[in-house]
């Protein structure tokens, strides 16, 4: 995430030095399994395009998971739950709890009680969080537009629909061992 999940670009500003001296990958003539494996290609593409934006995040001094939380919160008036955020950000719930600890410490979000269910903690942005995300959203939208412009012949809407349907889980099965 993988999702996801990563910062590359040690060659942000200066860069260009490495003109593929060794084979970065590419072993022998025959293609590797992974080079035609859909799951790998998706992870790789996602990683690559995300890495482009992560450069912007670095410059803003915002960590990737922090950005994901802020982006997920943007537009929410009532706040999101911890578990909901974890799911949205592709993280485990305890990871999110601790990430939120840090974000609270940094003044980006605050915890609030839920009106109906006292188990639930609602996470809302502070003004500082809102200010941070506002700027980043501009960059994110610009980057997305630029990215899409690189692939003029694909329909963005159609692609997004496909991705959404792939993300919809088919059989979220907890199979208890029946045998």
């Amino acid at each position: 995430m993988l999702m996801d999940t990563l910062t590359r670009d040690r060659d942000m500003d200066i860069a260009l030095s490495n003109e593929a001296p060794h084979s970065s990958v590419v072993p022998s003539g025959e293609g590797r399994f992974v080079d035609d494996y859909l799951l790998y290609l998706m992870a790789r593409a996602s990683h690559a395009v995300s890495a482009e934006f992560h450069t912007t995040l670095r410059r803003a001094g915002v960590q990737v998971p922090v950005w994901r939380v802020l982006a997920s919160l943007s537009g929410s008036t009532t706040g999101e739950t911890v578990t909901g955020l974890a799911e949205a950000c592709l993280l485990q719930q305890p990871t999110m709890t601790k990430l939120l600890d840090r974000m609270v410490r940094d003044g980006l979000v605050k915890r609030m009680p839920d009106a109906r269910d006292r188990r639930v903690v609602r996470i809302a942005m502070t003004p500082r969080g809102e200010a941070t995300v506002r700027e980043l959203l501009v960059s994110a939208k610009a980057h997305e537009a630029e990215l899409l412009s690189r692939f003029p012949d694909i329909g963005a809407h159609r692609l997004k629909e496909l991705l959404r349907s792939m993300a919809a889980r088919p059989a979220r099965g907890r199979r208890r061992e029946a045998a």
Copy 2:
């Protein structure tokens, strides 16, 4: 098909319960930012389909990064370099070094000297590693086929081409094109 209203079928089962009960119909332009953000949709789709396969990995007692290394090694006769594997597996080089430590400890791979360059460590699978990956490859191919069969109207080849071109770095880190 159901299209725009389906935009929220991915709404997981998490339910941002802030969906006010009275406004049951939301103007479709007013979803969360992330729900129409390409980078997020890619990460989410990648995460979801990978998670399906991770179930198989768990059953086999193989960690995700271990699988990635084995899959990347499969088919390589000369072995891969540590840096090459890190790149292939979307990890940092120190992470790969330590992951390989564990895999060596578990008898899945071995480190070998490079014939021409003594800086380089070549990673090759042990028989045990090969046996492990052989079984997993069968499952992976089956899963991929099943996954693709869920989306009959998309051309797999075309999709993969798109993903490959997205993964190719645009700006700085130019990379050779391979057949």
